[in-house]
Every structure is written in C-alpha cells, then in structure tokens.
Amino acid sequence: MIRKRKNHVRPYRKKIARKKIVKRLTNHPDPLVSIIIPAMNEKTTLPAVLREAGRVHPRSETIVVANGSTDGTPKIAAKRGAKVIHSADPLGHDVGRSLGAQAAKGRVLLFIDADMVIPAKELRPFVEAVLTGTDVALNGYSGPVDRWDTHPVVVAKHVLNAWLARPDLQGASMTAVPHALSRRALDEVGPAALEVPPLAQAMAVVRGMKVRTAHTVSVGKLNPLRQKKGRTDLLASLVAGDHLQAVHWLIRERGPRGGYEDLGRLRDKVR
C-alpha cells in the first residue's frame, strides 16, 4: 500500500526572521599564512571570498586591501573579521597586493582576488607547496593555447618563462591568482616588485627561488568580463608592459642578450 502524505501547507505562517549568523574570520595572533585580497567595490563576492579564505588554514590572517571602494567594501570586510587596509584611491590589484604583503606577518603569503570565489580546497595546495619548500607557488593555468591567434598576454607569459630558461612553467604567471609566496621570496624580491608581477617573477627565478606550479585553477572561467574600452583591453596593455619591464630588467641583470650565447659570431668582421 502506498501511503500518500498530505502536503501540510500552513497558509499564514509568519516567516521566522532568523538573525543571519555572520561567521567571523579568526585572525591568528601569530599567523603562519597571510591571505591577501585586494578589493575594489566587491561587496557582492567579498563575503563568499572571505568565507573560503577562513577555511584555508587554521593559523591564518586575512588582509583585505580595500581601495577606491564606494559600496561599503571595507565595512563588509571589517564586519567579517578581516584586517582591512583602507585606501580611498583605487590602487589596482598589483599595488594592492604589494601593500597587503607589507602588512602580512605570515610565513606564507597567499594572494587571491575579491571578485572571484575560489573554494578553499583549491587554495590549500598553494599554501601547502610553500610550507613544503617552494618559494613561489603559481597557478598552472596557462590560458587558452590550442589555437593560432593566442591572446598577446598569454604569448608574453609563455615567452617570459622561456627566456628565463623555465619553459616548464609554460604560461604560469604571478599576474594570475591564486599564487603564494614564501617569506624568503618576498624578502628577496621586495614588496615593491610585486607591483609589477612579471618583474617579481623574473627576479625570483633569476635569484634562484624555487618557482613552480602548485595547482591548476581555471580562473579564465571565473574572471568577470570587464568592460572593454575602445577595442583594446586596457589591462592587456598594462600586462604587456609589465612583461616588457621584466625583459628590461633581465637585460640589465644579464646583459643585452639576457645571458644567451652568440654561438661564435665574429661580429667584428662586419663594418
């Protein structure tokens, strides 16, 4: 026999107004991991980002670099227990990360963005890599490459790694999140270099830091589409310039050929 259960619908049930429990982050007094999140007008995604940040490591601190926000982003961050660095002016991701790194106390610095919710499970491998000896743990995501008209930024990332004699890194870059740094790497390149991520990466590789891809998170799908001004993406131009700046540094550091041989060219034979 089939028992049918009647649907009991109480027509006039008053909604119980439960007070939303905001689970606050706990910032450890002596953190091992510092999670740095630059944020500009990200009130919609920030709570979820902070929730995931709180789940990464038991001994962590979360630093939100709220910059140029007019939607109450710093308030939300503070309410959820994050440490907040406030700047009225917009800074951009890279300067934000640099500021956050300067305030960080942990041995591991994990960098994520406020506009992209990445589950804690996907973030832990980066922290784990740095805790086990890696200095720069990069996201293995290289962008779309199975095509002919590859995005200029993707080309730049691959070429910079190849020129740094690290073709194994493919298109992995400190320009992309998530990535994590060791305290040693931060001291070696200096927080100012983080403002130009490919430069920091070049410095880390050349100065013998252990740089490797720790885990792959397909951030391409998570990245919100930005308004494009004209037909050229402004960020693409900035990132292209950042890579050139890294090449420029490489030339200053290793000579006009970036340390590559001339294979016995008798240049003086040409007048």
Binding site: A162, L234, R257
Partner: protein
Amino acid sequence: MYRTRLKQTQRASRGQGREQGLKQRSLIKSPYSKKAEEKREQEKGGESLRLPFSGHRSIAEAAAEASADGYARLALQGSASAVVTASNEAATLPKVLFELGKLPLREIIVVLNGCTDGSFETVQRDPRVIRLSFPMRLGHDVGRAIGAAVATGDIILFMDGDLPLPAEELAPFLLAVDRGADVALNDISPFLPPFSRQDDVTRSKSYLNLSLGRPDLKANSMTAVPHAISRRALAATGTSALVVPPKAQAIAMVHGLNVCAPHSVNVLRGNRIRSGNTGAGNPVARLIIGDHIEALGEAMKIMGARLGTTRLSRSELAKARNVP
C-alpha cells in the same frame, strides 16, 4: 600615433603585395612544369635531366632559360642584389645559384665561410657572381651582413646556400620591395601548428612582433629566409644590425618602415637537420632567443622599457575597469 598610421599603410601595401605576388606567379612558368622539362631535354639532346635542378648548368644558361620561360616579364623598377650565405653547402649551392640566375638580379653575392668541402669551386665564374670567401666560420647571419655591405642594388634578397628554392618562389619578395615595401618577410604562418605546439623560438618571434605593435606579422621574422629588404631599410638599420636579424627587424619597425610578409614559402620542411638545431633548448634555439632579447633591448633604447604600452596608470586603470 605613428603606429596606427603605419598600420593602415602597411595593411594596404601588404594586401597589394600579396595580390601582385599571386599575379606574378601565374605569369611565371614553374621550372617544374612538364613543358619546361621537355624543352630542357630537347636542348640537351635527351640527356638525363630528370631533376628540376641541375648543378652543372651555368648561371648564364639560367638567365637564358629564364628569358625563354617568361621571367623577362618580371620587370623591376629598381636594381636588385642577392646575398647567399654558405658554409659547406657544395651539394645545394649550385642549385641555389642556378635559380637565382633566372631572376633579374644585378649581382649575386656569395659569402662562403669556413668551407672545407669545395663549396668555393662549385660557384661558377660569372659576371654577375661575386664570391667572398672566409677561411673561418663567421657564425650565424654574419655572412648576411657582410654580403649586404657589398651589395649595390636597391633591393637585397637574402638566401641560404642550403635551401634551393625555385625562382618563382623568390620573385614575390623582390616585387614587394620594388613596389614600396622595406622589409618583405617569408609568411610562415600557414605552416605553423597551434600555439600550444609551437616551440619557444616561434613564440619569441610572435612576441617581438606583438610587442612592436604588429600582431598581423605573427611569427614572421628576418631570422627566416628568403626575405628581401630595401636600401632604405638597410640605411635605417645599418649593416651591422643584420648580424642579429630580429634586431634589424625591430629597428625597421620602430622607425616605421613598411614591414610585410607578401609570400609563403615552406622552409620549415626543407631545412637541413644538423646536430645543433634539433630538440628543445638546442644551441641554435638559444642563439635565436638571445637575438630576440637583444632586439627588444634595442627597441627599448629608442621607445623606453615599456615600449609605450600603457597609457594609464595602475590607479586610473583600476578606476576605468571597475564599473559596477
């Protein structure tokens, strides 16, 4: 700025160059064609002449054959020189010179270096041929610069002694420069795999063009032959820059010269495999990567470290991008 203006003119001339290249090809009869083959056999009295190229026919003969074949129609406004570099290329060099002989060239400069296989003897005496011989190896691309310093033509075509290409595949480069281009590159893009399977050298070539505002040039480079340059380009870069081909290319692009890729010749297939040029990270690959770094460094000397990429500061950019 000048880049956008440049692009328009280049695009226009590029399209033109291609069209003309195609037109020219239809004018010129292929040396592989049955008719040409038969004619050659008749002339030689049915001797064994099965190969399209023969190393034993003189350059003067090539010119005569060319006029009979219709190459005389390739009328250039300016004069043209060819520079052929060779290092132990006795097997292929005569074929290369025979094909060049068909073209309306004022001179063919053969730069031999470090040859021990009798390459020098294979180069026939001909009023159009200038032989430069160096007992030691000059190194990659140095011969090209030496040849260019000697060349007197308005157009200079660069070829390698190990790569015999039919004259019809070379004519489009001469034509493009004759019609106003300054650097006419070999368009290798039809022969490339997708980005994921490209080697670091190819990617470096693309990166140089991208960085200098010419994504349309893709991976086309002066590192590859055949290519031709104008006297104006040579004056702008100087002969010494030709030692590092990407550097010469970068200088040409920075100076706003007309760089184009009018014709495609598959040289990737025919390239001789040597101990030094196979496998990832081989010495030649490392040399070419160094060349591209040097090229970007040269461009940075003129245009600044960021090559004029960013127009906004990070702060302004953040503001512009952050539209809720």
